[in-house]
Symmetry: C2
DNA sequence: GAATTCTTTTAGGGCTGTCTAAATAAAATA
DNA sequence: TATTTTATTTAGACAGCCCTAAAAGAATTC
């Protein structure tokens, strides 16, 4: 198992260069808040590990090997599952989840990862709309997500509404919530509490229970600011 | 903030010697799975830190200072809260919680500690009957605990039953569950599922929902085996 | 009280991951 | 192309935490 420091290098390379590009020494130094010389040293060591998680060429930065890519995605999966868990189960808000996940992602076991995923219903995207890598290393295609998965503050648009409960559908159209409607999630009570929404161009305020909110799918809001979330 | 290694030393001293005794080099080496020479080195360093978490006298082992005691209790609080959380919220069983908590206890923030505690209703004992130190460093007196807080496998005795729901009381006496009755928790479905119990000397099997189980208080089972749990 | 045994400490290293300062290579500019 | 600027690497060091081997102190036994 790679050390926490190594995992952070792999994650940083992935976030800077994706799964095929090269990350420069300087960009890694900036992202990891270490001196450039430290990055060089680490990359040199990683490149001769067996199996090597990175390919490294002097003066041309580092690229993830298949092995390194696998590991980076696993760490990112941990990170995003933890963020969603903190949000859904413990009332964390948008701005609070990242730092906490940053430390926990290195400390959870495979087993805990699995149970968290199960508890969340094997989610495919985090509340920012970032996809959560699957256990096999594939990445779910970006698509709409549940209103329940949004962080407070998000502005988005209804993409569809679950069609298996006519009563709920009737209720929603009374509120003016149909595909295409703009929504602004202004507040959320913790512990599966109600969501406060501003609906449509008139910004009508409505409170929605989690039961109902779970049936509403919205387009992923643009991910802005933080990059890992 | 002390390093993870330091926290483990402080916790080990507390577990070996309590909050006033001295822990020997050898006992610490055994508990932490390191060489005795490593323990000596660490204790010497800790004793000259400022503020120093331990008092150390050559050949006479180490004792926690007030400062060190405070920190040890904080780590133990983390550990036990996490164990209870994994058990109650994620379906972990007795034997699974310890190792997971051992790593997570170093990674959670004060904020997460608080939210976990809140979510669990500020519990005072973990499922083994070990008290959970409070935030101020005091330790709750040992007393009975909820049947919900028991781990699978525990054998115990009913100490009292909540008296504010006569219907539940009637139901329980039908099952033969009254103060003094012995109970063996044989099984527990995850995610707030039902508990399977063997009741009384005849070991009658009954399934109890969490609603009802929450009303039953039992004496803490003897803590055996693991010491941190 | 002396000898033996057990425990603890000292001495000297190793590994990981970081740093600064100086050297070198690559890129940009004149 | 020559020069300057910027990015990267090398060299040498250090802190934290661990190790083994050998020395020294404490406890036990004779």
């Amino acid at each position: 198992m790679p050390s926490e420091a190594v995992d952070n290098y792999l994650k940083a390379i992935y976030e800077i260069a994706g799964d095929d590009g090269r990350a420069s020494t300087a960009s890694l130094a900036r992202k990891l808040s270490v001196a450039p010389a430290s990055v060089t040293g680490m990359l040199q060591k990683l490149a001769v590990r067996n199996p090597a998680p990175v390919e490294y060429e002097k003066h041309h930065g580092a690229r993830l090997s298949d092995h390194g890519k696998q590991r980076a995605l696993e760490v990112i999966r941990h990170h995003r599952l933890i963020e969603l868990f903190l949000h859904r189960m413990l009332g964390y808000s948008w701005d609070e989840v990242h730092d906490e996940a940053e430390r926990l992602e290195h400390a959870i076991s495979e087993q805990l990862e699995d149970r968290i995923a199960e508890r969340l219903g094997d989610p495919e995207v985090d509340p920012h709309g970032h996809p959560i890598p699957r256990k096999d290393g594939t990445i779910p295609p970006r698509r709409d997500l549940s209103l329940l998965d949004l962080f407070v503050g998000a502005k988005t648009m209804v993409s569809r509404v679950s069609d298996n409960d006519p009563e709920i559908l009737r209720y929603l159209s009374e509120l003016g919530i149909t595909p295409g409607t703009t929504l602004h999630l202004t507040e959320r009570a913790p512990f599966d509490g109600p969501l406060m929404l501003e609906v449509g161009p008139d910004k009508e305020k409505h409170a929605l229970g989690p039961r109902v909110a779970g049936e509403i799918r919205v387009v992923p809001p643009a991910a802005n600011g933080e990059t890992t979330g």
